[in-house]
Amino acid sequence: MEHAHATAQALSLSLSVSYLRYIPLFPLLGVLFNIFLGHRLGRKAVNIVSPGMVFLSFLVSLHAFWNLPEGGRLVDTMWLWISSGTLHVDFALQVDQLSAMMILVVTGVGFLIHVYSTGYMAHDHDVARYFAYLNLFTASMLLLVLGENLLLLFVGWEGVGLCSYLLIGFWYTDDEKASAGKKAFIVNRVGDAGFLLGLFLLFWTLGESNVWTLSFSTIQQHIAAVPAEVATVICLLLFVGAAGKSAQIPLYVWLPDAMAGPTPVSALIHAATMVTAGIYMIARLNFLYALSPTALSVVATVGAATAFFAATIGLVQTDIKKVLAYSTVSQLGYMFLALGVGAYTAGVFHLMTHAFFKALLFLGAGSVIHGMSDEQDITKMGGLKSKMPVTFWTFFIACLAIAGVPGLSGFFSKDLILEEAYASPLGSPMLWLVGTIGAGMTAFYMFRLLFVTFFGENRASHEVQHHIHESPASMTVPLAILAVLSIVGGYFPLLHFLSPLFGEHHEPHVAPLIKYLPTVVGLGGIALAYVMYVLNPAIADNMARGLSAFHKLLFNKYYIDEIYDAVIVRPIVGMSNWLWKVWDAIVIDGTVNGAAHTMEANGSLLRLWQNGNVQNYALSFLIGAMAILGYYLW
C-alpha cells in the first residue's frame, strides 16, 4: 500500500465552536469537587460525581464526534496563552478525526474504569483523593489529545506524567511504591527533555522562513520550510519523548514498576490512555515524519525490537500484573512498528483495539486480585474458572483478542500491521518476521497466564480460598462491556474514518502465506501453552530447570534495572556528593576563608612591630626618612 500522504491536501473546513472546552472542564470540576467537598460528603457522593463527570465529557465528545465536518476540524480558541516577541501560543482546543477517536476512547474506557474503581476501592478510606487524581488524569489526557498546538500537547503530556506519579504512589506509606512513582516521573521527564529540544528545533527552523507558530495546522501548511536532515533530528528528538512516555526500549523501565499503583490505575493509565500518547503524537505529526524516512525506520526498528524483547520477558513472569505490563510494552512496540512503516491508520487502529482488550485484561486481573484478597502471584492461584465465571469468560475473550484469533478485534489490527510491515516500502520482511514471532509469543504467554490462573486446582492457602468470590456488579458490568467492545472493536470503519488525515487506506495485497502465517503461529502458541500448563504442568517446570540460566536472565528482566542503577544513578549521586563536599566546601569556601585568614595572619605579623619600645618607633621613623630620601637619590 503506497503510503499515500496527503502532502498538498488543502486543509478543509475548520469550524469554530465553543463547547469543546467543556470536555476537559468536566473532569477538572470533578477534581475540585473531590479536593474540597470529597471528604465532607463521604464516599457515596464521590462515587457518583467522579464517574458522572467523565460520562458528561463522554457525551460532549460524542456530540463533537457527530457534527465533525467531513474531513474538517472543530476549533475552540479560549485565550491567548503566551505571546513574547515572535512566539505566539493560544490556549486552543481542536477536534479532528484522530482527536475525535482518541477522546471517545479516553472518555469511554475512562468512564468504565471509573465505575470499576468505585467497586475496587470500596474498602479504601482515601477514595476522594484517588478520584481527584483519576479525574485530573482524565482532564490532562483530554487536554493532550485536544491540544491545538504542540505546547498545549506538552502541557497535557506532563500533566499525565504528574498524575501517573501521584497514582502510582497512591499508597504512599509503602516506600517502595512511592519510589516507583518517582521513577516513572523522572524517566518521563527524561523523555520530555528530548521532546522539548525537538519542539525548540522545530520552532526555530520554521522561524528561519518567518513562520512563527506551533499549531499543528499551520505547521502542516508550511512543512516544506523544514529541510530533510533537520526534520530527521526533530523527529528523533520527538521520538525520544514518545519512547519515554510510551515505554519503548531505552526508557521502558518505569512501566513494570508502575504496577505498584492500584489496578484500575494500571488499566486506565498504563494500558489504555497515557502510554498511547507517544503514538498519538507521532500520528499527529505524520506530515513531519513523512519528511524523513530514516527517522521512520528508526521508529520501526525500535518498535519491533521492543515488541520482541518485552514479549520474551513476559514469558516467564509470575506476577499477573507484570505479565500484562510487559505485554503492553510489547503491543506498544507493534504500534510503533506500524507508524514506522508509514501505516499510521493501522497503528491508530491497533491503539484503539488494544485499549479495549488490554483494559479488559487489567480489570480482569484486578477482579482476580480483589477476589484473591490482594494476592498477585499467579503460581499461588489456579482453578478460578468455576469460582469467578464472569471474570473468566471476559478474560478469555480478551486473551483471544490479543492473541489475534481471527474474528476478534486484535486479529484485524495486528495482522494489518504485520502485512503493512511486510508490504510497505519502508517495511522489510525482517520486521515482519520479528513481528510474527512476537505475535506467537504473545499468544503463548497470554494463554499461559489464563491457564495458570483459571485452570487446574487452587494453590492458595485455605482461608484465602475460602474468601474467593466473584466481584460485585460494579466491577463485572464494565468487564462485560469491554468484552463486547473487544469483539466488536475490529469492525469499526476506522480506516475509512481516518482517511482525511492519513490518506485513503488500500488493502496491502500480499502473498497468502505472509497474510495467514501470523494467525497460524498464534494458534500454535495457544496450543503449546495448553499442552504445557494444562495437560501436564511438569513440562513447564523441567523446561524452566533445563535452560535455567536463560530462564533466570529473563525472569530478572535482563538485569536492566540494575544496569541503569549502576551506570546512571550511582555515578550521579557519587559525583554530586563529591561536588558538594570537595568542590564547594574545600575549593571555593577554602579560598574565601583562606583570604580572610591571610588578612588576619598579616595583621598579627604587623602587630609585632609595635613592641612598645620608643626607640623601635624612632627606628621605623629613620627607615621611613631614609626611604623617602632614597627616592630622591635617583
Binding site: 612598645g612 619600645n613 620608643v614 626607640q615 624612632a618 627606628l619
Partner: protein, 100 residues
C-alpha cells in the same frame, strides 16, 4: 669663603649624630639631649643659609627655635620626672606597658 655646602654637610653630620643618639642610648634624658643636638644642628644650617642669602630671616627663626627648645625642655623634663617618680626607671626599653 667656605662654600655653603660645607656648612650644610656639617649640620647634616651633627643632625645624624643626634639621630643616632636617640636610637642608641637607653637613658631618656640622653635621648632628649640628642634631640637638642639635632635642633642645634638645624640652627647651624639656618644661620649658615642666612649668611649665604644675606637675609636676617634665618637668624630670627633660630631665635624662635631657641624659644621652642626651651619650652620643650621644660615640658620634657617634667614628663621625665613624672615617669621617674612613678616607675623608678627612665630607660626607654623598660617602658613597654602598651604594645601590640
Amino acid at each position: 669663603m667656605a662654600p655653603i655646602s660645607y656648612h650644610l654637610i656639617l649640620s647634616g653630620i651633627l643632625f645624624t649624630i643626634g639621630v643616632m643618639g636617640v636610637l642608641l642610648r637607653r637613658n631618656t634624658i640622653i635621648i632628649f639631649m640628642a634631640i637638642e643636638l639635632m635642633l642645634n644642628a638645624v640652627n647651624l644650617s639656618f644661620v649658615a643659609l642666612a649668611r649665604h642669602l644675606g637675609s636676617m630671616d634665618g637668624q630670627l627663626i633660630v631665635l624662635f627655635v631657641m624659644a621652642v627648645a626651651a619650652a620643650e625642655a621644660a615640658v620634657g623634663l617634667a614628663i621625665i620626672l613624672m615617669v621617674f617618680r612613678n616607675k623608678e626607671t627612665i630607660n626607654a626599653d623598660e617602658l613597654k606597658l602598651m604594645r601590640w
